[in-house]
Amino acid sequence: MEKREGQHTQIKTVMSSKDEILTRIRQTVRTRYDMPEIKPDFMAYGDKTARFIEVSESVGGRVVIAGKGEDINDIIRSLYPAAKTIASNIPEITAATFNPDETETPYALDGTDLAVVRGETGVAENGAVWIAQNVKEKALYFIAEYLVILLDAEKIVHNMHEAYRQIQLNDYGFGLFISGPSKTADIEQALVTGAHGAKGVTVILTSTV
């Protein structure tokens, strides 16, 4: 018995866990299945923007369409009149009270009332907005009490298939889809917003044309 255990340890040292796992998989897999052909060319929505707005609202988010020539800062101030600390690194956001990229650590972002960030792609089917990290500390997306995402209305796609064909991560190596505010239903399935992240999310749809 002792001998056996000794042998076992010996094998262990020769073979890393990685090799052991991979070898075992190679030995055990009997049938190799082909990748199914995936042709996700579903074009579900006649009006992608309308669907995006409808779903965003159904998940507790809010969508505001910026009118031509309307100052986004005015919209932000009117939506969040009580916000005292407003973080944004977007130069046009003059409503911002500080640039989050100038803080030393993510901890300094605690106490942010409102963060204003840019989204890259909106998804009509589920109201999600893709953001490849575009602030120094990703903490900003979650620790701010409220979040405003600026999104070009032209950048709304039908569904996640389309979104995944477009999205890219940058050098930060982090990106996420956000759909509505942080929420939980862990107490008796009663839906409560503001579990850990933003208590409210507003997407402001802008138009470049």
Binding site: V59, A163, K183, D186
Partner: protein
């Protein structure tokens, strides 16, 4: 398994009102799932693809794991491999110890539950803080989750209110869910800001890019990883998908199946460590490669842990998670338990009427009911059916009081042997009366049994 489980099951089923609430609430979640699924005309195509992608990935897992690990490493992530739970725990502890971590904040991970990581780390002196609200509640109570997506679904608001009075000094008698949730937000925010390390599970690993994708509604995984300088990801090796195209299929299915939402509030892609920080990934086997040897049971590994099969299962809804002896309950838990140890967990096989509802909701098309049937068949000829009897927990025994739930099981010879004894203790309840007409009424069944008229030979599955 433990006496705690047995006690919990007994407590749960003793409270008729709560049992009814549990049943109806989960059924509502199932209905929400139906509405969201029906909203997507291509739903069935997606399920078919999801199943196909998973079978492809699992049967080429060696290659995908290598590609995934190589990409993760190129992204600056330190990759570790754990053959089993023990090795996983040692690796995690090693990383924490080396960096002098005192407080670890965690987001929900069934894998760390599987490996019993928390008690291990706590014994080593690490302050482990669960940050998902449901998980935190259970951690305060020192109880395991009773559902994989809604861990505290078995608790009533009053119980949580009382718990928070004691632990978080909330107002006496206030059990408003919004009030309690925001009290927990305050409390956990402090934990996020003072943790030395954050740990997350992984919903998906993308082989092509090395991304680790974590889906939450609360944003707790994100809060944890945004502050602490160290992020450890614990990932079961079956979580891989080949690429973003595949990921698109799964992110469409997951939340719709799980909670009836179009997508989770946060779908986060972690590719690199934060600047100046560390990210570690522990890839865990712990019996998965062994499960791949078990013929068609390999399909069980397709699971994306959405919980839809639990929400639809009439047995789960009526009995609660603690009635099962494996830590993952419901249809998928019965199967995963068998993969873990048929000897230990065979008792859970009885918790199924073979209604096949689970098969129909599973987003990756695992034939859960067929698997359960196959397990039963495989145990009986080798004389292990007795295990089913022995392994039946208190909670499960109660279920035998519902002939309607068991009308299909009744046709199964191995189970039939023990039916009458359990039936003696119970009455047919309102669920049986209201929803489905039992095949046999209790009395006539018993009398038939007594007269030896019941056919105990194998009959065809319905």
């Amino acid at each position: 398994m433990s006496t705690q489980h047995a006690q919990e099951a007994a407590r749960f089923i003793a409270n008729k009102k709560q049992e009814q609430w549990h049943n109806e609430t989960l059924w509502q979640v199932r209905r929400k799932r139906d509405r969201l699924a029906m909203d997507i005309p291509e739903w069935e195509v997606l399920r078919e693809w999801a199943s196909g992608i998973k079978m492809h990935t699992l049967s080429h897992l060696d290659r995908y794991l290598e590609r995934f690990a190589a990409n993760a490493e190129a992204n600056g992530v330190k990759v570790h491999w754990a053959k089993d739970g023990e090795e996983h725990n040692e690796i995690v502890y090693g990383i924490l110890k080396e960096r002098g971590v005192k407080k670890l904040v965690k987001s929900k991970s069934m894998l760390t539950e599987e490996c019993h990581l928390n008690p291990f780390l706590i014994r080593k002196g690490i302050d482990v803080v669960e940050s998902d609200l449901g998980e935190r509640i259970l951690q305060f109570m020192d109880e395991p989750p009773s559902h994989i997506v809604m861990p505290a679904i078995h608790l009533k608001r009053e119980e949580i209110g009382e718990l928070f009075e004691e632990k978080l000094h909330t107002e006496k008698g206030n059990s408003d869910p919004a009030y309690l949730t925001h009290a927990a937000r305050q409390h956990l925010r402090n934990e996020f800001l003072t943790a030395d390390a954050a740990m997350t599970g992984a919903n998906f690993g993308v082989a092509d890019t090395g991304d680790i994708v974590v889906c939450t509604n609360e944003g707790n995984a994100d809060m944890g990883t945004s502050f602490a300088p160290l992020h450890i990801v614990s990932m079961g090796m079956e979580k891989l998908v080949p690429d973003y195209q595949a990921l698109g299929v799964f992110t469409r299915l997951l939340a719709r199946s799980a909670t009836g939402q179009p997508v989770t509030a946060y779908t986060s892609h972690y590719r690199k460590p934060r600047k100046g920080c560390e990210m570690h990934l522990v890839i865990v086997d712990n019996g998965r490669s062994r499960a791949m040897e078990m013929g068609d049971h390999i399909r069980t590994l397709k699971c994306i842990r959405c919980g839809a099969c639990m929400n639809t299962c009439p047995v789960y809804r009526r009995s609660g998670g603690y009635a099962y002896t494996y830590f993952i309950p419901g249809p998928i838990g019965i199967n995963l338990g068998m993969l873990r140890s048929a000897e230990t967990y065979a008792g859970n096989l009885s918790a199924c009427s073979l209604c096949c509802s689970c098969n129909n909701v599973c987003p990756v098309k695992i034939d859960l009911a067929d698997r359960i049937y196959a397990w039963r068949q495989s145990l009986d000829p080798i004389g292990k059916a007795d295990k089913i009897k022995k392994g039946i927990s208190k909670g499960m025994k109660y279920l035998f009081s519902h002939p309607s739930l068991y009308r299909t099981s009744l046709k199964l010879a191995p189970l039939l042997r023990y039916m009458p004894r359990f039936l003696l203790y119970n009455n047919l309840n309102s669920w049986g009366k209201g929803r489905e007409l039992p095949v046999f009424a209790k009395e006539s069944f018993t009398s038939m049994w007594k007269k030896g008229k019941v056919n105990t030979h194998k009959s065809k599955r319905s």
